[in-house]
Amino acid sequence: MEKNILFMFMRAPFGSIYYTEGLRAVVGMMSGLDEHKVTCVYMGDGAFYTLKGSDKSESAGYIKTIADISESHYYVDRESLAQRGIAESDIDDMFEVISRDDVSKLISDNDVVYDF
């Protein structure tokens, strides 16, 4: 059965491999027979991934595949950025900054909520 799935990316790149293996998982989730719909949100130390200069070469293939399959959103939590002193002008265009209340709404709107 098709589900709406929220992936919350919580860990700092690149100390662990979750940042890219999580996106591999997103591709797989969207490609299955069930055609799950996936939304990504970066929170906590995961917010560091949204920095403009953060090396996205290893995950670029997944991001392109995800875009080819269907529209998908990449959000980042405003509060996580602020706590880490990251200015909104310092993050990549592909990420949309949202409030923590918006994240709360994403959590309640999705059927499945993964931390990654």
């Binding site: 799935i5 491999i17 979750y18 989730m29 490609s31 299955g32 027979l33 069930d34 799950h36």
Partner: protein
């Protein structure tokens, strides 16, 4: 009765997650729920049948073998298995399968609840 899928991304011994997962899953099976596991990243090491640790009566692998014997379906990510040098799971316990993310996506499709550990 419910269907519960576990995503397990950490290996045995190093952290406690294998144990928490095995205990929740064991309790769920006893209550008659369906249990599936997708072992991803280091989670795949839990599939091994070759663990030997004299200080413990049972090794982590025993718990996962038991879950399979009690009806759980356990699939390990094949890319992760081979990346981590575990040779297509040739030393995995009987009944623990090697598959791919599509298997996980299908588990999630069937699941009423999803747990990440």
């Amino acid at each position: 009765m419910a269907n519960i899928n576990f995503l397990l991304t950490e290996g045995p011994f190093q952290t406690e997650k294998w144990s928490t997962a095995a205990q929740i899953a064991g309790a769920a099976l006893k209550k008659g729920h369906e249990v599936t596991f997708f072992c991803y990243l280091d989670g795949i090491y839990n599939g091994l049948s070759t663990q030997e640790f004299a200080e413990w009566e049972k090794v982590p692998g025993d718990y996962f073998k038991e879950l399979v014997d009690n009806g759980a379906e356990i699939v390990c990510c094949g890319i992760c298995v081979n990346a981590r040098g575990q040779q297509s799971g040739k030393f995995f316990s009987e009944g623990i399968k090697v598959g791919g993310i599509p298997d996980w996506a299908a588990f999630v499709g069937r699941a009423d609840r999803v747990i990440t550990l």
